[in-house]
């Protein structure tokens, strides 16, 4: 019986140690934002990877999400005789909630996993040690470009998701459910306010930080994973990073929503 308590205590200590490490990691990344020289080339490369190349998946998922939303809302709104409100229903759901959350999930799947693996492999191959010994800060050179690229790209991707989702809803509403396209767009313009848009932006910024921070942080400390090494360790931290960033993001979503709605 006592061995179980011991195990629990051990696990708790590990978790707290890890939170401490990740916290210190984030702090160091943020303070390194102002270090010179600034890697513009690397930043552009990362924006291309995180932002530009995520476009196809965002466009597709945004479109389908919007379309499904329209179908769902049509069903519900029809029972209240309010189908003409569909535009704002779809729009509000996307802008307040699904845009930021779905975009973050898509980015976690694509960027979170690969960035975590990349950083973990760099750690295993002593590339960070090499940078440190060359008097080049790994934080400034490797982490900062990825961090900034995420913070710039993810809100933009969210906005694109929202727009394409609204278009998806339009397609379903107008061409499948025979609603008035003008009415659809009008309800959107009428009901959606700046505070809704602000919520979208704030959430996407918070999610961006969560996604990139956890992906890089877990990869960076892969050598401290107990019981595994090499390729197996890379696989393990990548899985953990994806799960942890998804759950943290959803939790942050709840907190943000309770403050902003």
């Amino acid at each position: 019986m006592f061995s179980n308590i011991e195990k629990l205590g051990g696990r708790t200590i590990s978790v707290i140690e890890e939170l401490g490490r990740l916290g210190h990691f984030l702090l160091t990344v943020v303070t390194s934002l102002f270090s010179r020289p600034f890697g513009w080339k690397e930043l552009v490369k990362q924006i291309a990877f995180i932002g530009a190349r995520s476009m196809p998946i965002i466009l597709l998922s945004g479109l389908f999400t919007g379309m499904v939303l329209a179908l769902q809302f049509y069903d519900v709104l029809a029972r209240f005789g309010s189908v003409d409100l569909m535009g704002s229903a779809v729009g509000l759901s996307l802008i307040q909630e699904l845009g930021p959350v779905m975009t973050a999930l898509m980015v976690i799947a694509r960027v979170g996993s690969s960035t975590c693996a990349e950083i973990a492999i760099m750690r295993n191959e002593q590339q960070f040690d090499a940078l440190t010994c060359m008097a080049i800060s790994p934080y400034r050179y490797v982490m900062v470009p990825r961090f900034l690229a995420a913070v710039i790209s993810i809100p933009l991707l969210t906005a694109i998701f929202n727009v394409i989702g609204i278009i998806g809803g339009y397609i379903v509403g107008v061409f499948i459910k025979d609603l008035s396209g003008v009415a659809y767009m009008q309800t959107i313009i009428d009901t959606i306010t700046w505070s809704d848009l602000r919520m979208s932006i704030v959430k996407s910024l918070i999610f961006a930080v969560i996604v990139i921070w956890i992906a890089m942080g877990k990869g960076f400390y892969v050598h401290l994973e107990k019981g595994v090494s090499g390729a197996e360790a890379v696989g393990r931290v990548t899985t953990k990073a994806v799960v942890a960033s998804a759950i943290t993001m959803l939790f942050a979503d709840y907190i943000a929503s309770s403050f902003l709605i």
């Binding site: 020289p37 492999i121 760099m122 191959e125 002593q126 590339q127 040690d129 090499a130 940078l131 440190t132 010994c133 060359m134 008097a135 080049i136």
Partner: protein, 279 residues
């Protein structure tokens, strides 16, 4: 301004005996696990010191400490008159620029070509013209027999080539001190001998102080001015190649003579280990 502050790199007779690196009473541990105990080491300017030891002797930990990649639990490391664990960040960065490190496996950045990897320290720390940087890089590649490999990516290189590329990067700024982690591991004998010769030439031409961590006896005897033998986290003997060969300490002799450690068998205990759990 910088001209006056640059230390003279020419070998004047008195400075040949000048101690460049001093390790005092070093203890090091990973959490509870103690790895190094009471390490005492000094490296003179222009000398080649080989740190030898079997697996688990603490070689990598000692190297990490000397490179400032981990903090010791006790003791100090003094490089070029600076205590690397107490000196301020700016001073440490300045010191690092005079040190080159060749890691096992090369440790090249996978996202850049071999050439860009080697040019990295020059581009980050100097104002040299791109044309100068390009020629410097090619000079080093030629030296390492990697001519023409500039535009390849690290993933396209063999293990031996990666090592040599890593060495090229380590010496691109003509450092005062070169650290080499397991140069011969994974190399064929011919390349290994060539690498040994290169290390000797680098010291001769550039008056480099070189610290090599290895377990390859032949290389060690070829290149070392002095050898420090590490066993179980302690230095059991430091001396010239002759002194090490003549040493009658069992641990040193076994390493030199490549004798496997004797496993003492207690018959009864052995039998019970083999049959534990069986009915």
């Amino acid at each position: 301004m910088s001209d006056n502050q640059t230390q003279s790199k020419t070998a004047q007779e008195p400075s040949k005996d000048q101690v460049l690196i001093q390790v005092n009473q070093l203890d090091s541990a990973y959490g509870e696990r103690k790895i190094l105990k009471g390490i005492e080491l000094s490296v003179k300017q222009g000398e080649i010191l080989v740190i030898m030891g079997g697996s688990g002797s603490g070689k990598s930990t000692l190297l990490k400490n000397m490179l400032g990649l981990m903090q010791p639990t006790r003791g100090e490391i003094i490089i070029d008159k600076m205590n690397i664990n107490t000196v301020d960040k700016q001073q440490m960065l300045k010191l690092r620029r005079t040190m080159g490190v060749a890691f096992q496996g090369g440790a090249l950045l996978s996202s850049m070509s071999v050439g860009d990897n080697i040019k990295l320290p020059l581009r980050q720390h100097t104002d040299l013209d791109e044309s100068t940087i390009s020629i410097m890089t090619r000079l080093k590649l030629e030296l390492m027999n990697l001519a023409g490999f500039e535009d390849l990516m690290p993933s396209e290189l063999s293990g031996g080539m990666l090592k040599r590329a890593g060495l090229a990067r380590a010496v691109i700024m003509d450092p005062k001190i070169l650290f080499f982690d397991e140069p011969s591991a994974g190399l064929d004998p011919v390349t290994s001998v060539e690498l040994d010769q290169l290390i000797l030439e680098l010291r001769k031409a550039m008056n480099m102080t070189i610290i090599v961590v290895t377990h390859e006896l032949e290389s060690a005897f070829t290149i070392a001015d002095r050898i420090a033998v590490l066993y179980d986290g302690e230095i059991v003997k430091t001396g010239t190649v002759e002194e090490i060969k003549a040493c009658d300490d069992e641990r040193v002799a076994n390493l030199i003579n490549r004798k496997p450690r004797e496993v003492q068998i207690d018959g009864e205990k052995y039998l019970s280990r083999l049959t534990e759990g069986a009915e």
